[in-house]
Subunit: 306 residues, 4 copies
């Protein structure tokens, strides 16, 4: 197994769909080009924003094939394996490996409530079955389990994981985690936040997995480069513009669920920007109602995206 | 579509596994006989206690085939379809229908947070795709969404569901739900509780889906029959014995997760009783440590099960 | 210290207020007579429904004096001591004892998050300071701490408490608690529910503290007497009528908070029934808007209360 | 009413206690000198860390008198008013005003669950009664209500509040709040965090209320000054040292509650540093066990505090 040290902007790639819910190859290629041309440092295929859990094995394979082909190795690509339990995650992981991804993204189990101990076992079994670099994905809002600092450290020391993607919203804990790993230059900490990326980078995080990066990859890359150059004023200015853009995720509620409002906000913006042919998501996610689409359009205009 | 009015004791059938994690046909047949001979009124295949989300499509099919064959139509069998999203639920539902189940058990989406409105859409899409009777399964601890009284009523009025299985633990809400459906003799309310079944039956619930019914189906049938006869003193006495037996679910923690302690408690008891060949669960659930197995044995002895 | 074994219907007595927010003596006397004449078995002064935490020491003293005087010893009276921390609870407890109450109702600390161990210390300190019988009040929705089965048992064995009032909504845990105390005839379990009192009594609970008992004490007494006589059909019928009446608590939202909708529903009903002069609560609780008052009136009419 | 624009480091002043739980005047004066000499920009008396809800009116008054006298007007002092309900908060607020504080810190109601609307009413009633500058204190872990962006904006526009102290842990929401108030130079945003103060300052927050500032005021002042000077590398370095020091708050569990472990960690450190005569807290908070005290000592040594 080769090692993998991710850094920079690694967006969870949106999965465009045709009207019959098959993967829209043309739009997906366009999105990948948009991201790579925007300067991103890696691609995260089949993340939560990619509607991973909505897709069956065939659709997942299709996404991986198209995206890897279009990316052409210019940036590393890691791939989500989300499913409720170990053996099903391993099935997804094997498929992803056979298609050539550079690393896997693995959450704790879900639906069934798990424990820290069984979660370590889970990662260990996945690692044994598919010896690719693994990013631990900490997303308790979906899994109902927060990966503790001790669990992440244990998994690192047992060489099960090479990175964590923190989507827990608990930035104070992530900060302490960063210090726990001050002695571990081969470990990467990525934040899943869209709105406090400058903070995370100031604190030593190595990268960012922003869903909003699908809409404005170049903005996040500028933010990252400013931070890397130590220009925190510029980083902050870019972050603030991106926060204003981020308000597109709140427009669909209450017609949609908050989740559909978020992913739908991204897809609606990308549709308005001509990046994808259709804004709809997998079933049963509702599309944004017309008034919300208008508000998204206004936000795009106000932030220089249209 | 034929209608389905469930009542009585409908256990979620435990899925026995061989050492290689394939479905243990011999043990599963023995379990089904144990349940049907114990007098249960229906079978719930592929429920949470059945480790549904741990099984792939092949394993799920195998469970359905064996259980239906062994049951031989003596009692109706409904089948869980649990997966995170609509189209994957529909895949499971189609497989279950083709194998001959009498009804489907459907939860709201999970992993992704949903809303009441998108949940109604979800049930509607499943119903359109697979016209079998559907039980709504309310299990917010797994799905993070409580089916509201209004949602359940709306789905009934739109003829999407014929019953609810309430595993929310909110028995006060279930009581009010019962009154909401006082005018609906074709709708069934089943409680997922093991410990307050007499209460639910006193309040007018039609049946019960007890995981512990795998261990002692005859006990739950006696409880149900006593309640149906209006002998609440006998029902309470039986319930109290079953509560003592239920303490087997608490013995594995903290070595196991609470979930593995529960399903593991059932499987350990069934193994000690000679019903299944192996007590282990799907990965990564941990088996009960030896001291916990001893405590389970003591509880079985104290409650007349060994 | 004399012992106290509560049983039966022990309503948390609503605190009527004058327009200037002083305690309305005339109305409070009328409420106490209404309850005692309705056949209740005890009074719980200064409970959550009584707006206890809204009242200062002077108002609390006034409520106790008036209520005890009006009750005239016909039924025992226990008194809430709710405040965030131990020494402030002790102050309240000493005042209540000096005014002649028969027992105290004590919660765990609140605002500050506590632990099971520090909660046992807390009860021990209150007991040491004020040697009156103590009911442990389990209301995690207000205190953020659920009293565990082990904590309640420990406090009983250390002679700190003589009863628990369970307002946690976790009736399955309360049922197991009941069995834990099968060997303890001097310990009382009271449910705080309005809607599953028949269940709790079937399971062996000794009594009930229903806020709705302020509106219809005779109904709850009939329910209790039917249960005590083993007539579960009659108990259930009365409970179902009371559930219909209980819908008065849901009418004020979203204009009011759910809490103000509940206590406000009781006060509005009592005002419509001529029991109290004003329906308003302590600040900042909002009164029910006119349309909600109309709905409360309709419910009172439909359930035979007007 | 004069206006108040807080900025910089405003620690919640620890309340030292004598063995009989009276306020330890000598130690409190020493603490105030330690803080003011350390360069802090304001004092927050009677905050959560000050054990506010544990103190009665007499103790609260004593704290205010001593602290104001010792501070001698060198820095502004605001004062917590925490109690469960409006009129009790007003009592506290009047006392604080009469003793000469510069502003009040007010939370939403607690114990009773509240709503955004009734919370706005609550602040309005406090403001009407006591016309001092008010900081809204957002601490949902204690109050069970998160002040929404809309609520904070509404209260500002109605001139009810001049600042918010955000102890919600939701730094992404606080960041968006900051942008909501970009047009309001008279409004201050203070973070209650100890571990991401550099982040908050980078994002435009005006100040910080760190409990750990009692132990190391000069460290937080250095952090603040570095941030104000735009030296984010220095700010980060200081923050990282303070995070290492912050680990003193985790040493008491499970003997103590997490809360007692936190405040107890501060008091133990201050006792070891010779700032306060006794490390104990109000009842029922448990003191740190000896092994935890040793760990606190080690941390103080490792971070240059001893």
């Amino acid at each position: 197994m080769s090692t993998l040290k991710l850094h920079g902007i690694v967006p969870p790639v949106v999965t465009p769909l045709n009207e019959d819910f098959s993967v829209d190859e043309t739009s997906l290629r366009k999105v990948v080009r948009h991201l790579v041309d925007g300067g991103v440092h890696g691609l995260f295929l089949l993340g939560s924003t990619s509607e991973c859990v909505f897709l069956n094995a065939g659709q997942r394979a299709r996404v991986i094939e198209i995206a890897l082909d279009e990316a052409g190795g210019r940036v590393p690509a890691v791939c989500g394996t989300m499913d409720p339990t170990t053996d099903r995650v391993i099935e997804n992981a094997r498929q992803a490996r056979s298609l050539g991804v550079d690393g896997l993204v693995v959450t704790s189990q879900f639906y069934t409530r798990s424990s820290q101990g069984e979660t370590i076992d889970h990662f260990s079994m996945v690692k044994d079955a598919v010896d690719l670099p693994i990013l631990a994905y900490d997303i308790p809002v979906c899994t109902n389990l927060k990966l503790s600092r001790e669990t992440i450290r244990t998994m690192y020391e047992r060489k099960l994981i090479c990175a964590v993607k923190d989507s827990s919203g608990d930035i104070e804990n992530m900060r302490m985690l960063g210090l726990d790993f001050a002695d571990a230059p081969d470990f990467a900490i990525l934040t899943g936040s869209e709105t406090v990326v400058d903070y995370a980078l100031l604190g030593g995080a190595h990268g960012n997995v922003p869903g909003l990066g699908n809409v404005d990859p170049a903005g996040y890359v500028r933010l990252y480069e400013a931070a890397r150059a130590g220009d925190w004023v510029a980083a902050r200015r870019e972050q603030e513009r991106l926060i204003r853009l981020f308000q597109i995720v709140f427009q669909g509620v209450p017609h949609t669920s908050p989740n559909a409002s978020g992913v739908g906000g991204f897809k609606t913006a990308m549709h308005l920007m001509g990046l994808i042919a259709h804004p709809h998501m997998s079933r049963p996610n509702r599309v944004l109602p017309p008034a919300a689409v208008e508000r998204v359009k206004d936000i795009l205009l106000a932030t220089g995206m249209l």
